[in-house]
């Protein structure tokens, strides 16, 4: 029982971990841009960036499959120039999960940046800090709680990712068959014993993530998700 659960579990943790890193970097960058710079179409871009959160994962999965597939514009280019194929690979699963998890980081980070009193940043500048230094020494430490809260939720969401991942990475046992996909396969095959073991593990992990998030973040957690 342990082996059949350990393989998909470790794969899920690996995929969710990398997806969270990607979502974190991109989410913080976009959040800072949209929180601090006013430009034409800013709210339209905000809607586009939030889209993966509300769109059915199968729609996102289809977009990614068409884009990243061997005959897709991005997939074809990667294949031709670098020999990289993302479909049916764990890296493909990371990209799918990162897209799905991205809005959670982005939304939390943008709210956190907008909550900061910009006078503090101005004070930093008046002391001769460069923009980069202001960001890393003033803005980021002040927004950190909210961003971390978003990252924790993004990790939990990436861990549970199913629809888009299945479409992009398929269900290759030991390679792209994550915990949620292994559960789906077990149910499809009528293997309730395996399904029971896996859903209990998945539920326990999600509870741990939420409890840890609540404990570590306390105020910041609630501040970021009060809407």
């Amino acid at each position: 029982m342990f082996d059949e659960a350990a393989v998909p579990l470790l794969l899920s943790l690996k995929v969710a971990g990398w997806a969270t890193v990607l979502a974190l970097v991109a989410g913080v960058a976009f959040a800072y841009l949209l929180a601090r710079v006013r430009f034409f179409g800013r709210e339209v871009l905000d809607a586009a960036l939030t889209l993966p959160m509300v769109m059915p994962p199968t729609v996102l999965g289809y977009y990614l499959l068409v884009l990243l597939g061997k005959r897709g514009p991005v997939g074809g280019w990667l294949q031709e120039n670098f020999g990289i194929n993302l479909i049916f690979t764990w890296q493909g699963a990371v990209i799918a999960a990162a897209f799905v998890a991205f809005p959670l980081v982005y939304k939390a980070a943008r709210a956190a940046f907008e909550d900061i009193d910009t006078n503090l940043e101005r004070a930093g500048r008046s002391l001769g800090f460069s923009e980069l230094k202001v960001f890393f020494r003033v803005t980021l430490p002040l927004a950190w709680h909210g961003i971390l809260a978003g990252a924790m939720l993004a990790f939990a969401r990436a861990l549970g990712e199913f629809g888009a991942t299945l479409m992009v990475a398929g269900s290759l046992p030991g390679r792209t068959q994550t915990l949620s996909i292994a559960i789906y396969e077990a149910v499809q095959a009528g293997d309730d014993a395996t399904a029971n073991n896996l859903v209990i593990i998945a539920s326990v992990i999600c509870i741990i993530v939420l409890v840890v998030a609540g404990r570590v973040l306390q105020g910041g957690y609630r501040r970021a998700f009060r809407y």
Partner: protein, 270 residues
């Protein structure tokens, strides 16, 4: 400069749209209730059929509705074992048509079908397909070992009959273990077909009837003889609330006109 955050602006926005939002909600609820009462109609015949039967059964379902006015045929397509799992958990299916005897035997073992009604109604063939524009030479199973074949789409043998047939021939050829790293499990035969049609896998195992659906995008590289013939059993579900209607559907499928439809899609006689 501190900006008005999105959150602060929201109350004004929501009160402005509150009325139309409430109406929208009302409409959604009405729709949902309407839909669920529609699903409960007594004259609905729920047919759970193997994914490979999708196109043929859509035609047959329409024909059945024409000769039985007031009856609505609700079609549910998936891999046979998935359909069985649904029925075993109490899904309100009336007819079960599976793509292999194993799925139907499991249904018998779980005591969910009326065994007196069980019979084979069509026959199919297993083929090895490649994308229509593929340049890799595939002449038979042995070609699959070539390095140019990186991925092979196959129905998941745990739940998809075509996967079991494919695993059977690969096992018999002694190639299963060697090819396993290349295999991409599909949730149904139609997903395996789609993977090949998109060129994501260089080869795949499907039924000849599926390959015929996507003639322009996939080509049949080789016929793969199976040890046992591929026969499709059909039966009435034991808990069916429309058992009489379900039985007449089975008779209807066996009628010459419907057998013509099935053979037009490439299914053989059992």
């Amino acid at each position: 400069m501190p900006q008005t955050s999105k959150l602060a602006r929201q109350p004004a926005l929501s009160s402005r749209f509150a009325f139309s939002r409430r109406r929208l909600l009302g409409a959604a609820v009405a729709l949902a209730i309407g839909a669920s009462s529609g699903a409960a109609s007594a004259a609905d015949l729920v047919v759970s059929a193997a994914a490979s039967l999708t196109n043929a059964f859509a035609d047959i379902g329409r024909a059945f509705e024409r000769v039985n006015p007031g009856t609505k045929v609700v079609l549910n397509f998936a891999a046979s074992d998935v359909l069985l799992a649904q029925i075993a958990k109490g899904a309100p299916a009336d007819v079960f048509a599976s793509a292999d005897e194993i799925a139907m035997d499991k249904a018998v073992a779980q005591n969910v079908i009326d065994t007196k009604t069980r019979h084979d109604f069509v026959r199919n063939r297993l083929v090895l397909i490649a994308p229509a524009d593929s340049t890799v030479a595939i002449t038979g199973l042995s070609s699959l070992s070539a390095p140019a074949i990186k991925h092979i789409a196959i129905g998941n043998p745990a739940s998809v009959p075509v996967g079991r047939y494919s695993k059977g021939v690969l096992d018999k050829a002694g190639m299963w273990a060697a090819l396993e790293p290349k295999l991409v499990n599909a949730a149904s035969v139609r997903q395996a077909l789609d993977y090949v049609a998109r060129g994501e896998t260089e080869a795949g195992f499907v039924y000849s009837t599926d390959a015929a659906i996507m003639k322009g995008r996939v080509k049949v590289a080789a016929e793969v003889p199976t040890e046992k013939p591929i026969l499709y059993p059909i039966a009435v579900v034991k808990d069916s609330k429309n058992a009489a209607l379900a039985k007449s559907f089975l008779t209807f499928v066996a009628s010459p006109a419907m057998q013509t439809i099935l053979s037009d899609y490439g299914f053989g006689k059992p």
